[in-house]
Symmetry: C2
Subunit: 266 residues, 2 copies
């Protein structure tokens, strides 16, 4: 009895986020229009959400390496925003565990260690198998087009050999699995775990397995579509194992510091 509802809130599917970053465009861009009575205006700070989204996406695409310093001044001019907004964004990012705030020293992209990596995979092993099983069980009532389209996107990106796109989409497949449940809590949890996974793969992964093999994703999806919970669960477990086994926990590559163009382009 899983509550099947669409997730209207989280508007940051990241595919759109930013076309043009003009300083102080004061964009109200990605605020879902809602003038309903009970819920008064949407949460404030559309601006800092924009910054958060931007950095989140950069991390997901492994363009922002762990330990990279995010200085306030730099972010201010990058996004054309006042310091307050930047600081709020950094606080939010740190509460998500994406960055780490050090007193009087600044913000650094999170740099998971070995044990944290194990925790991430353990948590995913705990959550994702029941999740896909549940999806497969109730796939009749769910709209899977998002996932189907996503597989297509992954294939296209792979065709064109767009590295960052491939990496991000590989991770997002898993968050979209969670999104398909329509449960915003499950979605949030998976999103956090997937983001952290991206950091981990960037740190400990060899270059070739930076992304999940496309066919594994589509196999999982097909198992879900054919309402085969056991198969879907089994495929997902071995998929997660593939990712984890592809890591080399000893050789961690040292991070660089290039912030300038990373966030500016898209």
């Amino acid at each position: 009895m899983l509550g099947l509802r669409l997730i209207g809130d989280y508007a940051f599917t990241a595919s759109e986020s930013a076309k043009a970053i003009n300083p102080e465009s004061s964009s109200v861009s990605s605020i879902p229009q809602q003038s309903s009575i009970g819920k008064t205006g949407p949460n404030q700070g559309s601006d800092e959400n924009f910054i958060v989204e931007r950095i989140y996406k950069a991390v997901m695409e492994q363009r922002l390496a762990p330990n990279t310093k995010l200085s306030e001044a730099r972010l201010c001019e990058t996004f054309g925003v006042g310091r307050m907004r930047v600081r709020r964004a950094l606080l939010l990012l740190s509460s998500q565990g994406l960055i780490e705030l050090q007193s009087n020293r600044g913000a650094y992209v999170a740099c998971p260690d070995k044990s944290e990596a194990n925790d991430v995979f353990a948590a995913r092993m705990l959550i994702e198998p029941p999740l896909v099983r549940q999806l497969a069980q109730s796939s009749g009532d769910i709209d899977l087009t998002v996932l189907i389209d996503h597989i297509a996107l992954e294939g296209a990106a792979r065709e064109k050999d767009e590295r960052t796109e491939i990496i991000r989409l590989s991770g997002e497949f898993h968050t979209k699995l969670a999104q398909a449940t329509g449960n915003k809590f499950i979605f949030r949890m998976m999103r956090e775990l997937v983001t952290r996974t991206s950091l981990i793969v960037g740190l400990f992964g060899s270059s070739q397995n930076a992304s999940c093999p496309d066919d594994e994703h589509s196999k999982i999806l097909r198992a879900i579509q054919s309402q085969n919970p056991e198969l879907a669960e089994k495929l997902l477990i071995s998929h997660l194992n593939h990712i984890q086994n592809g890591l080399d926990m000893e050789s961690r590559q040292e991070p660089q510091d290039d912030l300038a163009t990373i966030l500016g382009s898209d």
Copy 2:
């Protein structure tokens, strides 16, 4: 008697702050002073964490009713802190979903609706069963004293009929289950879900089942101790069902959006 939410006035006023420090649970507390000299540890903002913890606890104990307004000025004087700290704390709380920030209107304790309540229980149904199963499987390697002690605390609070303590401990049993895994991601997820559950029970629950029956908790723990995964999982599932079935999703007690409403009743 349904009038058990005359929490109206901020339940964490300074008068109570002095004595209300319980030596258990969260690792962040202690030192209610705002002296800037405090620990210069690596983690920043020990002060706003204090505020967050305080409000978190008040919500867990259902002393802070949903929709209660948390004005900045009030919080400033309550905690003896500058406005910046309060605003940062509010931002953090909102990112946890504990409160909701409305533009130019202030911060209000979150007020989950029916569908959100369903999502919370669906998420818990997804996570907690595998969690306890795993605990039971590996209970040989894990230190369960925290849970054992917790059961004792629950019993004691029940003896003394300390309402707020009972409610909080009832919820915290589940977060401590997650804590026993030693996985901080699982812990964070459960903590968020349990907190939200507390709000939901406060909103939709009848007065008698505001807390979990003690024996169900101890039964679950015993199943874990005796390394019986199936039993532990089964007990937990029925436990969650008990909680959810005890709710009346239609009769939501209207939350007071103003403190004066309560005080002006006579």
